[in-house]
């Protein structure tokens, strides 16, 4: 019999009951909650007179709607200007109070984007199942955890039963062999993967990322890769546990207590795919071929190396692709442009659950240090992923580097990733963004998003247009 994949192992260890129709009940170890997708779930519990199955399996923090300017943040939830946002954040506070769920509220230094906060606190652990009413929950797979996004009715189901009704996915291995070139980061790797397999390439699969280039990434980098598994269509992204994982978890507030630590580490070492495990599909990339990536269109798969020519609709053989490209060209205003460097940028956003961790901020700071943001850039903002990331960055003096270069230093939250708060693009504005979705209107009505790594966003802020960061700074 063939060996087991990491996904098989995680699935098996959480299987409560296999049903005849192919669905199964799987046990959920951690549910992360935020203000947008939880209110009706709590309301459902209340209406049915139900209690959460196990409150200690949940952790909550507001992130999507919270303002990120220090001024609007001063008085906590009461200071939120937008009434709908305020109601959602208040409702989360009240629900967590009523049901006894641990919450890092807006005034807590530990508040931040759920996918930054969970790992940072050691709430996300190897071998767990993690869910959240947010598709980027795949992030937590970086720890060798089975993690995926769910809908509001499922949020309620997990609260009430600690289980999820799920169907087993198929196994895909994406291997990146060899070593990455200077300034080629986790973001470039995952964008290159999406460029290769497409936004539907991973549909129905749990993708395990492996190979030398993935193994040599830090935990921050691994989270960036798994975060965007969903942009390749896969609800689950996974990376095997190794010393990097264990070192990261050690000493975090919610990590196993010292007396359980050795037992935990022992069991985590099993969280790798067996040598003879069989994957339904295997995709291989060579690390040396990956260059800094920039998306040119309105889907993450519309991505190219920074110095390539932008692909033209008329050169596409497939009629559907040709039409899709033509629509993207029009929306992105690419007429008369040949290369990404021909686009004049209006805004720069460094943040989001993809790239707002300390390593991301350090990389961006390295690039802008001692330089100035181009005067054609209307606004460049840096939004740390959590209060603790912000504090650490300030300890290291990164905030000064950013503000001296002309970037704004903000309070933690999702911010311009989805423009639910005041941080938005205007119609027609081009933005170099470290977030994960470049869909039409995602960062504001008519806004034009280009996805890049933090270093590439920083380089773009300085140049006023896209350039290979290697041209600006030696690694």
């Amino acid at each position: 019999m063939a060996g087991k994949t990491l996904y098989d192992k995680l699935w098996n260890s959480h299987l409560v009951q296999q049903r005849n129709d192919g669905s199964a009940l799987i046990y959920i170890d951690l549910q992360l909650l935020h203000e947008v997708t939880s209110p009706q779930a709590f309301e459902g519990l209340r209406l049915a007179g139900r209690k959460p199955w196990r409150t200690s399996a949940s952790l909550a923090t507001p992130d999507h709607n919270v303002p990120t300017t220090a001024e609007e943040r001063k008085s906590g939830v009461n200071g939120i200007e937008d009434p709908v946002s305020k109601i959602q954040v208040t409702t989360l506070d009240e629900n967590c109070d009523e049901f006894g769920i641990t919450e890092f509220n807006m005034m807590d230094v530990r508040q931040g984007i759920v996918h930054v906060v969970g790992p940072e606190q050691g709430a996300t652990l190897p071998g767990m199942t993690v869910v959240c009413g947010d598709s980027h929950t795949s992030t937590h797979g970086a720890f060798g955890a089975l993690a995926h996004g769910i809908g509001t009715s499922e949020v309620e189901h997990v609260l009430a039963t600690q289980c999820l009704v799920a169907k087993k996915m198929r196994n895909m291995l994406v291997r990146v062999d060899g070593q990455l070139s200077p300034w080629v980061t986790a973001k470039d790797v995952v964008l290159a993967i999406i460029g290769k397999i497409g936004t539907a390439g991973g549909t129905g699969f749990a993708i395990e990322f492996g190979g030398e280039a993935i193994q040599s990434l830090s935990m921050e980098g691994r989270m960036t890769v798994c975060n965007m598994a969903i942009e390749a269509g896969a609800r689950v992204g996974l990376i095997a546990v190794d010393d990097t994982t264990i070192d990261y978890v050690k000493g975090r507030p919610y990590a196993p207590k010292p007396e359980q630590w050795d037992m935990a580490v022992e069991s985590w070492k099993e969280l790798v795919s067996d040598d003879d495990a069989e994957f339904d599909e295997v995709v291989v990339l060579q690390a040396k071929d990956i260059k800094p990536q920039v998306t040119w269109g309105t889907s993450p798969e519309m991505v190219i190396p920074v110095d390539d020519f932008i692909p033209k609709p008329e050169d596409q053989q497939d009629p559907v692709q040709r039409e899709g490209y033509a629509r993207a060209w029009k929306y992105m205003g690419l007429e008369g442009k040949e290369k990404l460097s021909d686009i004049t940028l209006d805004k720069v956003f460094i943040g989001s659950c993809t790239n707002s961790r300390i390593e991301d901020l350090r990389a961006a700071a390295d690039v802008v240090k001692g330089r100035k943001v181009a005067n054609t850039i209307k606004e460049a903002i840096v939004v740390p992923g959590s209060g603790l990331v912000k504090a650490q960055a300030e300890d290291e003096g990164l905030d000064k580097i950013f503000t001296e270069a002309g970037l704004q230093w903000r309070e933690p939250g999702c911010s311009m990733c989805l423009a639910m708060n005041a941080d938005k693009l205007g119609a027609g504005e081009h933005c170099a963004s470290t977030s994960n979705r470049n869909f039409e209107g995602r960062q504001g009505f008519g806004g034009r998003t280009h996805l890049v790594s933090p270093a590439m966003a920083a380089a773009a802020a300085i140049a006023g247009h896209f350039i290979d960061v290697n041209e600006l700074v030696k690694h």
Binding site: Q40, L47, S153, T161, K257
Partner: protein
């Protein structure tokens, strides 16, 4: 979910075909963070003279006298008689939420829109399909007698009039089981509570750190 077994209540005739979900609950009320509280805006445009706003106090709003549920004799209605294709239009689950919040427990019509029909079962509301002639008879009976009550017996699958006349209806056996026992998806999973507990007991031995309290 609240179980549905036998229900007796005042019936009201809504003599209108193709009642869509936007009529049941207009779109301006969908921004709410709740599933309750939609009852006061049920049939908002048919029911009030003015245009309803979210979060508005509906007490003083001018009522349309011609609307059936505004008439004194139909106060406290819990069984709604309706015409063909009830619940068509958008898939909003707010429609059954609004009916339920108002106090409607069953809707009787010759036909229903699909998604609405499904959504009803998820929310403890019973949609009953009877023949067009049967529905017509019920309309006449309800209109001619003030305070006319109907009894709906789900287990027996019959609608009974005060005179003792019975109309039988069909219902999918799985849905019937869920509704009789008040089982929604969560209810069904909770029937496996013992398996879940057994899993937890085994798991806590293997990985006790997963069950640690996570305090602030």
């Amino acid at each position: 979910m609240r179980p549905f077994t036998v229900h007796t209540g005042v019936a009201a005739p809504l003599d209108l075909a193709n009642v869509d979900t936007d009529m049941i609950i207009p779109k301006q009320f969908l921004k709410s963070i709740k599933r309750t509280g939609f009852g006061k805006n049920l049939f908002d445009e048919l029911r009030y003279e003015d245009e309803g706003q979210p979060d508005q106090d509906c007490e003083g709003r001018p009522l349309r006298e011609d609307f059936v549920l505004n008439q004194t004799r139909y106060q406290g209605t819990s069984v709604l008689l309706a015409r063909n294709n009830f619940g068509c239009g958008s898939s909003r689950e707010h429609a059954p939420w609004a009916l339920d919040d108002y106090g409607i427990r069953a809707v009787i019509a010759p036909s229903f829109a699909d998604i609405f029909f499904n959504n009803c079962f998820k929310n403890g509301l019973l949609p009953i399909v009877l023949d067009e002639e049967e529905v017509d008879e019920l309309f006449k009976a309800v209109e001619s007698t003030e305070g006319y009550e109907l009894t709906v017996d789900l287990d027996a699958q019959i609608v009974k009039t005060p005179e003792g006349k019975e109309y039988s209806f069909l219902v999918d056996s799985f849905r019937k089981h869920c509704l009789l026992n008040g089982l929604d998806d969560i209810g069904l999973t909770l029937q496996e509570a013992d398996s879940i507990k057994a899993y937890e007991e085994k798991r806590i031995q293997q990985a006790p750190w997963l069950f640690a309290e996570r305090t602030l």
